[in-house]
Symmetry: C2
Subunit: 210 residues, 2 copies
């Protein structure tokens, strides 16, 4: 299978959500035009994105929502469960433990780590907070495949370096710094101000118009 | 100025960050190829995105990083300060108060609201938690322009409805539901599992290859 670009993957995630909502509404088939309209992109783009994976759609009939959702889920790897280690039991970390969307998409936080001795041994949600020094032992025991980094910026690189040594190969980074990793290791950055910038763009534009 | 699509705005946010990093590294000029390479997209896409705003770049010389950053910042409306109201003083809300990236981009949380009487009157960060019933009074007093919705899913729609009545026109929604709003009101959804899905895609792909 050819490599798919990051923006395409992100759009597939969006289509996956659109299909989930359509299925909830008992809608069996959907056109690329409809998927495009819901997400405010061109139908040519939708067709191009879906063409990567062969022709699911029938010309004039559209896509079967359940089959297409299943196929996209399989491409994204969210048809299986992923074990996640969360580093940092601060506010962001605790917010993520309660974040039900993760579980819905197959992402299960199986272990939490912190270096604060006041937190270690206590509970966060249903999980005991482990000391960061035990991260390799627990990562192997719990088969952690993805780590979420929710530590202060100045500690993030060291934490990732340590986890790479334990064999963790994928990271979701909440710290506002660029993490350096060896070839073959993947880092995605969660930046919560990107969407706010889209809002400020629209508000600015309205002001200029008004 | 013509309307810019959401994916373009999101890429502009990305370019803005790239330029900030280049400026920190004392780099004065940058080509569209370099911006494209850093962000793993095509240089044709970068040139197309930047062409919306006229020709900043000089053929063969590239873009002046400081000028281009300033221009994109102005387009995105992040060259000014925005006052934000945060609804929900739970874990996500508290995480956002500490989130320094917001302030860096000009987004200032000026008021926090909750309906839990155990929280109202107490502090979250430097701010006093107000009762949600006071939301209109405070929204006007503090000139809140954007509201961040960090309440449980079943309460989110009502909170937004109330805030629309107070005159708030832009919302960043963390609740995992689709919010309905009247024409002219903007909602952006922050979905923290999108980036995890990109990771699971890459991990699945590696497994299939290996």
């Amino acid at each position: 299978m050819q490599k798919i670009s990051d923006p395409t993957i992100s759009r597939l995630s969006t289509y996956y959500r659109t299909l989930s909502r359509l299925i909830e509404q008992k809608i069996d088939t959907v056109s690329s035009e409809k998927i495009a309209h819901i997400n405010n992109i061109t139908s040519a783009q939708v067709r191009k994105d879906l063409s990567f994976f062969g022709a699911f759609g029938k010309r004039g009939l559209g896509y079967n929502t359940v089959a297409l959702k299943k196929e996209i889920g399989s491409i994204l790897g969210i048809d299986k469960k992923w074990n996640i280690g969360l580093v940092g039991a601060g506010n962001i970390g605790r917010a993520l433990i309660d974040y039900t969307e993760f579980k819905k998409q197959g992402f299960f936080i199986k272990a939490i780590f912190d270096n604060d001795l006041n937190k270690v041994g206590k509970k966060a949600g249903d999980l005991e907070i482990h000391h960061i020094d035990d991260v390799c032992y627990i990562a192997n025991k719990e088969n952690l495949e993805i780590a979420v980094i929710a530590v202060p910026a100045h500690k993030a690189q060291q934490v990732v370096d340590d986890l790479v040594k334990c064999g963790v190969r994928a990271f979701l980074n909440f710290a506002p710094i660029t993490i350096k990793v060896p070839e073959g290791i993947i880092v995605k950055n969660e930046n919560m101000s990107i969407e706010l910038e889209a809002l400020s763009y629209h508000l600015s534009r309205d002001k200029k118009k008004g």
